[in-house]
Symmetry: C2
Subunit: 304 residues, 2 copies
Amino acid sequence: MGQGMSKSNNVYKDAYNRCLRLLDETRSLPSEPELGALLGVSRTTVRSILARMEETGLIAWNKRAKTVLRDPRPDDFFPEEETDTLAEIIERSFMRRLLAGGAEAGMQINELELAREIGVGTTSVREFLIRFSRFGLIEKRRNSHWVLKGFTRAFALELTEIREMFELRSAAAFTALPQDSPVWGDLDRLEEEHRFLQREIATRFNEFSELDERFHRLIHRASHNRFIVDFYDVIAMIFHYHYQWNKAQERERNEVAIGEHLAYIEALKSRDLGKVDAACRKHLKSARQTLLTSIPESRSSQKN
Amino acid sequence: MGQGMSKSNNVYKDAYNRCLRLLDETRSLPSEPELGALLGVSRTTVRSILARMEETGLIAWNKRAKTVLRDPRPDDFFPEEETDTLAEIIERSFMRRLLAGGAEAGMQINELELAREIGVGTTSVREFLIRFSRFGLIEKRRNSHWVLKGFTRAFALELTEIREMFELRSAAAFTALPQDSPVWGDLDRLEEEHRFLQREIATRFNEFSELDERFHRLIHRASHNRFIVDFYDVIAMIFHYHYQWNKAQERERNEVAIGEHLAYIEALKSRDLGKVDAACRKHLKSARQTLLTSIPESRSSQKN
DNA sequence: TTAATGTCTTTTATCGTGAAAAAACAGTTT
DNA sequence: AAACTGTTTTTTCACGATAAAAGACATTAA
């Protein structure tokens, strides 16, 4: 599938699907520039979307008039998998191989083989690997292959060490934010979401992962330091796959984490640096523990 | 120049030049694998080098026998500029534009234009920008262009904030290293180089930049944390161009820095955490100051 | 029988190309 | 005139192709 094609039109397909959902709400669509802003795409793409919607009888389109003719049906949507970015496809594929065992540290990574296996061009794989290298899991040998450093205990410890430094500093910066800063409102809303999830934990425990990320990103943003903010991408990536991979006691773990977050939020609102420090440390310690226990104790003896 | 060609043979040319320097020292060259290891290239490249050296009458080559026939002349060497990596060429070009004024924050970066201007393919430029993005100076707009964030005061402050966190921690880790660790020997040697440079400061002050990097990298390595070690790449890059750009009071600045380094080294050797902390703080503070004074006070009012 | 050389294969680095998507420009409608 | 639609140009994204370089295999010399 997909060999020989120059560029997939996933931007169009994804925006089309999102636009279909908009159709339910209104009798007519806004102007082209407005739609573009709403969907986050250019007018060129908007016009392709409108053209297809007209073809399939979803709307009547004549210049400014874009009247909705019927509700979208399930088969109007493009299949989910066709809306993914190439980068997403490659990342998923790569991470699956990395986590699905057999990925010994020190193993070399072959661009061509990866590209063939995933069914994409080498350029895309190369660019992915370059982007991915900042996560510290792979390394390039000068004009030669990439080397896998492995998702090891050492990696987790190094990652969490930085995370703890950065988050403690960000949390301190957070408490120093003026009372009228919008972040306090954001924090209140997040607290509410935590409370809600706590009540419904039995059925919605798997929604925590996403809330967790939003919460920590809010705190990191208070540092006003691009390197700290950007580093959260590394953490988010690791935890994203970690959550997908390690489902053991997920409910219990998340329940504990919600409790810790609430204590942390409480501390932030008190603006008492000592309390913030303690609550932050406590939560990060248990987060580290969770991550560590999910890593096999070193599959084979370490190589060089 | 250079349009249409698939891949430059700069690896070969650079290795050839380095191999020429080896010729002065011996009457005959070692085996092919040995030469490869020495020059850091594959046997394929070694054989191309030997082939050319035979052609130009530098050596007689018959299987294992590689006898040196004459000393290399200046015109045997490939021109310096032909030994550069494409990545280096692009980086220099890009940084020149960035520092040569007219590079307002918020300005968009055009891959195609850059590629044309430098005379390389778009792929190489794209890969460069992706690699370069980790320095925090540019940012990608989702499926659109890159945006220049600018080499601003804010950037310098964010950079140095992280640098200080990381280096204080690394320095502390350094003092905790066991007495028999090889780093103490490395430190002694660096101290000696500092003393030498201090004596010859009048003529060799411009050699400090390189020594500075080696010294700080040694300390950062003590953290045993890949994120800390890797972050030094960002610092090194910035200071590299900063040194090239801001030559004002270079001698005085470097003289001061050498003194601070020596005090810092002294503190490390004392293994007294308090002293280390103080010496490190003092040096980093003046390094930050130097960097800050070299940044124009904000060319125009900040955009969004 | 180990370690070199000679030969062949695979992989990486880089380009030009073309479709997708964005952006710029020109003409209309309100 | 401001904001829209219609049209054209430019840029980004991804591919296959090809030379450089690495690496693997076969052969030979010490």
